[in-house]
Amino acid sequence: MTGLEIGLIGIGALFAAILLGVNVMVALGAVGAIGLASIVGVKGATAMLSTVFFDTTHSFHFSVIPLFLLMGFFAMRAGLGEDMFEATSKWLGNLKGGLAISTTIGAAAFGAASGSSVGTATVFTKLALPEMLARGYDKRLASASIAIAGTLAVMIPPSALVVVYGILTDSSIGGLLIAGVIPGVVFAILLCFATYFTVLRNPALAPVVRTESTLREKVYSLRLAGPLVLVIVCIIAGLYLGIFTPTEAGGIGAGLTLLLAIVRQRSLKALKLNQTLLDTIRTSAMIFAIIICALIFSKFLAISGVANALGGFLTTLDVNRWVVVAIIVGIYLVLGMMMDAPALLAITLPITHPVMMNLGFDPIWFGVFVVLLVEIGAVTPPVGINCFVVQAASEGRVSLEDVFKGLVPYVIAGFVMLILLCVFPQLALYLPQTMK
């Protein structure tokens, strides 16, 4: 059997194992490891298993994940979610899907401080999901609106993934980061519309909270949003003043929300610190297990030659350039079902970037396009890391199926955004070109 055949069998086996109810981490890891063993031998596969766990976790870069989780759990204990929704329901409560829409807006604002799609999805699961469910929102709509909102943190700078793209393709990181601002905002607006129209078609999904509040009450309610706004302002200010780095922002944010939680609970004891810390480590264990096992699987895909074969196929095509774009979109969607975003970029960009440059596309534009594309992959089944995170952080309130099913309108919004980027490349290019 050739490596390529083994690779294709492995892809089939992964889907089968996941559907048969094997833990996703075990499916990814076991299929990946067995696949590796059949190509490079048991000794080789064992060597790869020996290094990947330590190498992935002994990393400053990833310390942001438990710290953002901690921030989310402290924010929950501080009651920031209840307060925020009290305020937004006064303003948006009479709007169809108002709470889901304010989640999207909140995540966009939070995304300006955070570079982590997974971290943002976690924080907003903690903040917004219980509130939405308590007010009769449909599980699918509520959980999916949060899973997709996480992607805004990667679109809107700062963004670790955008930096990865810049490094892999030798493009200007400064330019790339600025380029994400307008598409990030436009995508946030599209997501709000997706919620609005979904609820318009089926009002039962999101009962409108009828509140007859005066303008005075509305303005007064803004104070409730104060603490969260304060945290976000502190983080943004700290980043721009050079007090801490985006990774360190996780620790600072956790510290700030801890203070708010102590104030709110009136003592450290009432905070139930043990419980909060256990919640944090359970979720981070789940996330790291998936990340590492996804890495094992993507190492297998790489060495099987499936990835290299795709590149060879693309470079021999002789068709209209938009056909190539459509094929590349298809490839990312298929691979995005199985791999996490950084691994996907590392494997595919050496293949797709040169092809796109030869076709005359702008590297900055392609950066925004491809980051959106892999972020859509972060919410598609069966390996949709944001959905896993939402489900895990929901503490059993929603099932994985709920999240995936609810995502249909938002994935459509993602496609609309991809089309908008193709029709109006200036969305991505205007700011980098005028800043020069």
């Binding site: 490094i167 030798d170 990181i173 990835a307």
Partner: protein, 314 residues
């Protein structure tokens, strides 16, 4: 029989830098020199093994060729890390590859150290000569006092402290923003890497302070694969490894010239630093302790260190 060897590297092909270009040259040349009989397939971008994973993966036969960043493994490969303990030192990139080659020929302990991990060095790829890239102009040792300088590993913290500056650890992926937001004032780097990591977009002063060319990467092979090659192929690999140094250094020089030529337009100013002010601090106890540590390890391995140390003296 025709063989296809696997090369595992952390470097993305798209980087298009001297390492990527010269790696591709090695691959093409290997095919040509074996008369199209054998070839090498490259697994770029850490897709199979990341930097810290490569020695173990290579030793176990996941790959046949691979790039080993020796400074990541000071305990596993202490001898082959010699240069990393001597910062600053006066030798250039091509001189350091010559020295590595010479030491491997002179002292069998260098190869034995790798053979213990089932590895064989077939080529050497030192880094470019480093200076400091800073966000403010630095014209003398006095200007460095209190500056926050990025450090990693063991030798740079000692040097930075000896210069009266503050060593700061920042992840490579965050160094760009750290320079932009003044969390860092300077980072040790050469022109090609400064351009490759885009740091010269946000730090506009390149200080010509002679930190020297660090080692670097081994182009290593799985020892079993190497021993299993027929004599003709092995000879081709050996010769290619030697020719590689020239090709790589040539590519690196091209990149450095191009980057330097583009700097005035980009607003990057090159500033000379009085070398004797740097050389004066080498006697500092902290720097000397790092060097003594290597000397101790070399002697323990039975390598006479005097000649090697002499080569790395200003």
């Amino acid at each position: 029989a025709a063989d296809t060897y696997k090369w595992i590297t952390f470097k993305p092909q798209g980087a298009g830098d001297a390492q990527a270009i010269s790696t591709q040259w090695f691959i093409d040349e290997f095919k040509k020199r074996t008369g199209d009989e054998h070839e090498i397939e490259v697994y770029w971008g850490g897709s199979v093994a990341k930097t810290r994973e490569i020695p173990d993966s290579l030793a176990a036969g996941v790959g046949d060729f691979g790039d080993i960043v020796t400074p990541y493994f000071p305990d596993k490969f202490p001898l082959n890390n010699a240069v990393g303990f001597f910062i600053p030192q006066p030798k250039s990139t091509i001189e350091i590859s010559g020295l590595m080659e010479k030491w491997h020929e002179t002292y069998p302990q260098f190869a034995e150290e790798l053979a213990r991990s089932n590895l064989k060095a077939v080529g050497f790829r030192p880094l470019e000569s480093y200076g400091l890239l800073c966000t403010t102009p630095i014209r003398s040792a006095g200007d460095l006092k209190g500056k926050r300088i990025r450090t990693y590993g063991f030798a740079y913290p000692a040097l930075v402290e000896a210069l009266g500056a503050t060593p700061v650890s920042v992840a490579t992926s965050e160094a760009y923003e750290a320079l932009e937001r003044s969390i860092l004032d300077c980072t040790p780097i050469g022109p090609a890497l400064a351009h490759g990591w885009k740091y010269d977009e946000v730090a506009k002063y390149y200080i010509e302070i002679p930190l020297g060319a660090s080692f670097g990467h081994l182009i290593a092979m799985n020892l079993d694969t190497y021993n299993g090659m027929d004599e003709k192929t092995r000879a081709i690999v050996d010769q290619l490894g030697k020719d590689y140094a020239k090709n790589y250094a040539g590519e690196l020089d091209k990149t450095i010239s191009a980057v330097r030529a583009g700097w005035p337009e980009k607003g990057v100013e090159v500033i000379q630093f009085p070398a004797d002010e740097l050389i004066a601090v080498i006697d500092d106890e902290r720097i000397q302790n790092v060097r003594k540590e290597w000397i101790g390890r070399a002697e323990a391995a039975g390598v006479p260190s005097d000649e090697i140390v002499e080569e790395l003296r200003f």
